[in-house]
C-alpha cells in the first residue's frame, strides 16, 4: 500500500516538474536550444579556440576554461578513495576468498588482455584534447583493467602502496601546474605553454599534461577502491 502511494506521489511530482518546465517560456523546449543567448556561444569564436588550442571544445571547457571544477572533481574522487580506506580501517588486508577458483587459462589470458586495455586507455588519455574522452574515461579504463586482474586471479593483490603514492603525486602535480600558472602568468590554472595549432597532438598547452595526470590519478584511485572492496582484515 505504502509503495503504491509513494509511486503515485512521485508520478505527481514528475508531472508537476514537467508542467512547470513547460509553462516557463525562458526554459527552451527540448532541441530548440539557441546557442546565441548562452555563454557557450563564445567558446566557438576563433579567438578563444586559438587561445586554448584544443580541438575538442568540451575538453577545452573541462580543463581550460573551467579547470577549477575538474580540480574539485578530482578532489571528490580523492576523498572518496581516502574515505573508503579509512572506513575499512588501517589494519593489514588480505584477499577476500570468493570460493571461486579460476583455472590456469583464465589467469594467463587475462594478463594479455590487461596489456591491450592499458594501451587503449593510454590512447584515450593522450588524445583527450582531440577526440572525445580524456583523463576520466582513460583512468576508468585503467581501473577496469586492474579489476579484470582481480576477478580472474583470486590471489592477485595490486601494489596498493604504489597506487597511493602515484595518486598523491599526480594530484599535487595538478595543483603545482595550477600554481605555476598563477606564478608565471596571471591566474591559477592559466595556460602558460604555447597553444600550438588546433588539431595536432602537441597542442592546447597544459591541457594534455593535466589530462594525463588526471588519468593516472583516477586510475590509481579507482583501483585502490577496488582493492579495498575485494579484501578484508588480516584474520591472523
Amino acid at each position: 500500500m505504502k509503495n503504491l502511494f509513494g509511486l503515485l506521489l512521485s508520478l505527481v511530482l514528475g508531472a508537476f516538474i514537467i508542467l512547470a518546465l513547460n509553462n516557463t517560456a525562458a526554459f527552451p523546449a527540448f532541441g530548440e536550444v539557441d546557442l546565441a543567448d548562452r555563454v557557450s556561444e563564445q567558446y566557438f569564436t576563433d579567438g578563444n579556440v586559438a587561445e586554448v588550442g584544443s580541438a575538442n571544445i568540451v575538453t577545452a571547457i573541462v580543463v581550460g576554461y573551467r579547470g577549477f571544477d575538474t580540480l574539485g572533481e578530482v578532489t571528490v574522487l580523492f576523498i572518496s578513495a581516502l574515505g573508503v580506506a579509512i572506513i575499512f580501517g588501517e589494519k593489514k588486508q588480505e584477499r577476500l576468498d570468493l570460493k571461486f577458483k579460476p583455472n590456469f587459462m583464465l589467469r594467463v589470458g587475462s594478463r594479455v588482455l590487461f596489456g591491450m586495455i592499458l594501451i587503449t586507455s593510454i590512447y584515450i588519455i593522450f588524445h583527450g584534447h582531440l577526440t572525445p574522452g580524456g583523463g576520466f574515461p582513460g583512468g576508468a579504463i585503467i581501473a577496469s583493467a586492474v579489476l579484470l586482474l582481480y576477478l580472474t586471479d583470486d590471489r592477485f593483490r595490486s601494489n596498493v602502496k604504489g597506487f597511493k603514492i602515484l595518486e598523491g603525486i599526480a594530484g599535487s602535480l595538478f595543483v603545482v601546474i595550477g600554481l605555476l600558472g598563477l606564478v608565471l602568468v596571471t591566474s591559477f590554472l592559466q595556460n602558460f605553454l604555447p597553444a600550438g595549432t588546433v588539431g595536432d597532438l602537441l597542442s592546447a598547452g597544459i591541457i594534455p599534461i593535466i589530462y594525463v595526470l588526471i588519468g593516472l590519478k583516477v586510475g590509481s584511485e579507482i583501483s585502490g577502491i577496488v582493492d579495498n572492496f575485494l579484501t578484508e582484515e588480516e584474520s591472523a
Partner: protein, 111 residues
Amino acid sequence: MIQYAAIILFVFGLYGLFTNRNVIKMIVSLNVMEVGLNIFIISIGFTYDGIAPILSSTTANGLLYVDPLPQALVLTAIVIGVGTTALGLAIAKSIHKTYNTFDLDEMGDKE
C-alpha cells in the same frame, strides 16, 4: 521527449529511495536518480541538427554545434556520482560487518 523521460527517471530514483529499506537498493536508486539527472543535463544542451563540439580541420566553420558546457558539467556530475556511490557501498559493507544485514529495519533495534 528524452527530457521528460529523464525527469521521470529522476523521480523514480526519488521513489526508490523513498520506499526501500535495503541499503544496497537505496544506493542503486540513488544512482538511478543521478543517471536521470545526468541525462537531463545533457538534454539541456541538445539541438536537433547540432553536431558534437569537436573542431576538426575538415569541417568548415558556420556549422551548428551542440552546447558543449552541459557536457562538461555532466562529466563532473558523473564522477561525483561515482564518488558518492563508492563511499555509500563502503559504508554498506561496514554496516553489513556490524549488523550482518542490509535491511535498515532489522538493524534498527541494535542501537
